[in-house]
């Protein structure tokens, strides 16, 4: 409690409040605009935070992340275009509600659900992260290596594409992470006499290229047609029946989203899909789903917000990113000289608790921003895409260049943009690649340190209880995945996709 009060004393300082507000505002705009995800938004604005202290910069960047989850629902409900990948499920019933004249109610339910779920997530983060960090202090190299292996397997298991496709992308990311000088022996690896590659490939150029530029290359301007349903302010309040129908889906979405947020992968996306499936399964009127069911908006919107908060638990407590967005946030911390991980709570309590407290405040700000100002945010959508995407391309270039003033990084971003276009074309998910790139140095170091400390005895991973438990969990997960592939059993994702296809047909 004392620590949380310290956090509030930091978060309620006027300048920290200002940057939290700025992050929430930019995040909402990023979420509203289709084609610019939170990852691009955070990466592009990363250099702008270099002049700030660590707390302000992380508070602002995190605000962009959870703000985008709020903003993503606006375009989903009003235009049937997901502003953010995690808002895909909201399109179905949100837009159907808008067509019935209940756009305002849908927006209000999405915003209130997001606020409740976001606040629930922060409460859980407050309770879970510090003891988890204390537990993680017992981790040595074998435990970290086992944890990262489990993370990769879990990522593959939870992925929306196939197990092999996810693992192959993670392998490419891990390989990219080996570029540069080997920290243990000093060997140059794949640097091709380019001095800048000696330090390895940065997360920002890869993330901005794959998710920012790659998205733009895949979206021809001619295909972007915008038809906005503008809600009136007085129509924003849902009626009593709509509130009643949304209560339990919000509660379930919050719990489900937070739990999924703890796991690696695109948790905020998966959680919204899973929440939609759960709500439809539990509904007494499943036939209403797709035709404007309130639960189809309340559940997924709550789940994606809780998941985005849940993702901060492993990031802050263990120093491990569960996805590309938390990876970039970790990079931001490291740029400011703060090592994320179990020692963060004790060594930088002002950063940790200030960040946690700012999320309570940020969620309130977002509620205040998203309801009354929805009309203004809708106007952002009226900016023609033909003018919008050149702007994004420019910010991709400046954003990447300003990180280390290296034009090589900008070339890497451009190459990754083209790669991202190719990956989308062939249905490959770029997220495991970014995650692989981030964890590659930690995984390699942990693996090699484990072997050195055991004098080459690889059974060290099975002699230590925590590492053994983690590896057994990884093996079980892999076994389950292989079994399901062998039996060609259809999982919930495919069933859901098929159900959606048959509904739309």
């Amino acid at each position: 409690m004392e620590s949380l009060l310290l956090g509030f004393s930091v978060a309620l300082q006027p300048d920290v409040l200002w940057y939290a507000f700025l992050g929430c505002l930019v995040g909402t705009v990023v979420g509203v605009l289709p084609g610019i995800g939170p990852l691009s938004g955070i990466s592009i604005l990363l250099p702008a935070t270099f002049g700030l202290d660590t707390t302000k910069s992380v508070v602002m960047l995190a605000g962009i992340y959870y703000g985008s989850q709020y903003g993503g629902s606006t375009t989903s409900i009003l235009m049937r275009i997901p502003g953010e990948a995690s808002s895909v499920m909201t399109c179905i019933d949100g837009y159907a509600m808008a067509q019935k004249g209940r756009a305002g109610a849908a927006l209000c339910i999405a915003a209130v659900g997001s606020w409740i779920a976001g606040t629930f997530g922060v409460v859980m983060l407050t309770l879970i992260a510090p003891p988890l960090a204390e537990f993680a202090l017992r981790f040595g190299p074998p435990e970290y290596a086992a944890l990262l292996v489990l993370g990769l397997i879990l990522l593959a298991y939870m992925s929306s594409t196939s197990l092999v496709r996810t693992l192959v992308m993670a392998c490419v990311g891990l390989l990219l992470g080996t570029i540069g000088i080997d920290n243990m022996t000093g060997h140059f690896r794949y640097s091709f006499d380019i001095a800048e590659l000696g330090d390895g490939i940065g997360i920002v150029p890869v993330a901005v290229g794959l998710f920012g530029l790659g998205e733009i290359l895949s979206t021809p301007s001619a295909t972007v047609v915008r038809d906005v349903i503008a809600p009136r302010l007085r129509e924003l309040l849902p009626n009593r029946e709509e509130w009643r129908q949304s209560a339990m889906p919000i509660a379930r979405g919050s719990v489900l989203g937070f739990l999924i947020g703890l796991t690696p992968g695109s948790a905020h996306i998966i959680s919204s899909f899973l929440s939609y499936a759960v709500e439809r399964r539990l509904s007494k009127h499943p036939e209403e789903f797709g035709r404007g069911a309130v639960a189809g908006v309340a559940g997924p919107e709550s789940a994606n917000n809780a998941a985005s908060t849940g993702a901060f638990v492993p990031m802050l407590a263990l120093g491990l990113p569960t996805g590309p967005i938390t990876a970039v946030l970790l990079a931001a911390l490291m740029i400011h000289g703060v090592s994320p991980g179990p020692t963060l709570v004790n060594e930088h309590p002002d950063v940790f608790w200030g960040f946690v407290a700012s999320m309570y405040v940020g969620n309130l700000m977002l509620l205040a921003l998203n309801l009354p100002l929805v009309g203004i945010f809708v106007n952002v959508l009226r900016v023609p895409y033909t003018y919008l995407y050149p702007l994004v391309v420019m910010f991709c270039i400046i954003g990447v260049y300003e990180v280390s003033h290296s034009v090589v990084d900008v070339w890497i971003m451009l190459i990754m943009g083209v790669v991202g276009y190719g990956l989308r074309k062939f249905g490959l998910d770029p997220a495991p690649l970014v995650l692989g790139l981030v964890i590659s140095p930690i995984l390699e170091m942990s693996l090699r340190q484990s072997l050195i400390m055991s004098n080459g005895n690889w059974t060290i991973f099975f002699q230590r209880p925590i590492a053994l438990t983690l590896l057994v969990a990884a093996a079980a997960m892999l076994g389950l995945a292989v079994l399901s592939v062998q039996r060609e059993r259809k999982d919930w994702r495919r069933r859901l996709a098929e159900a959606e296809a048959s509904d739309s047909a």
Binding site: V164, Y401, V410, V418, G456
Partner: protein
């Protein structure tokens, strides 16, 4: 035989894996008690080849290559080429000129907007961004031959 997307994807990863193995020739694998710089890359390259083969062998589940739509390719090539030119001249021309030309080229040449509106848009955006970075954020951008 119908060539499917996973045949192509799997093939690319197999080739990429072998390429990495070829490039890693001089990197020592080391021993188990002291693993070398080549252990991890070679292990990963091997896995890449394995997964690539698995993808290609189970390609019948993926869609035929001929079904892929490439309608967006010309737009993508234009945007990528203009961006590449802007990157190539970014340091020599500086932020204002290179980004102004990038914006103008994308809005006028690619999007066929009126040249006057494209020029006005480019100039306004560059000026505002320049002010945002240099004045508001105090983050200097790349200077060109004219000092901006």
């Amino acid at each position: 035989m119908i060539v499917r997307t996973d045949h192509v994807v799997g093939g690319i990863f197999v080739v990429f894996g072998f390429l990495i193995l070829g490039l890693s020739g001089d990197l020592p694998v080391g021993t188990l008690s002291f693993p070398g710089a080549g252990l991890m890359p070679k292990l990963l390259a091997g896995l890449l080849v394995l997964f690539g083969l698995a993808l290609a062998l189970h390609a019948r589940r993926s869609e035929p290559l001929a079904n892929l739509s490439w309608q967006d390719l010309p737009h993508a090539v234009q945007v990528a080429a203009i961006t590449a030119l802007a990157v190539a001249f970014y340091q020599s021309l500086g932020f204002a000129l290179s980004m102004g030309l990038l914006l103008f080229a994308l809005t006028f040449a690619v999007e066929r907007r009126h040249p006057v509106s494209a020029a006005a848009f480019s100039a306004a955006v560059v000026a505002l961004t320049y002010l945002l970075f240099t004045v508001a954020l105090k983050t200097p951008v790349e200077q060109g031959p004219f000092g901006f």
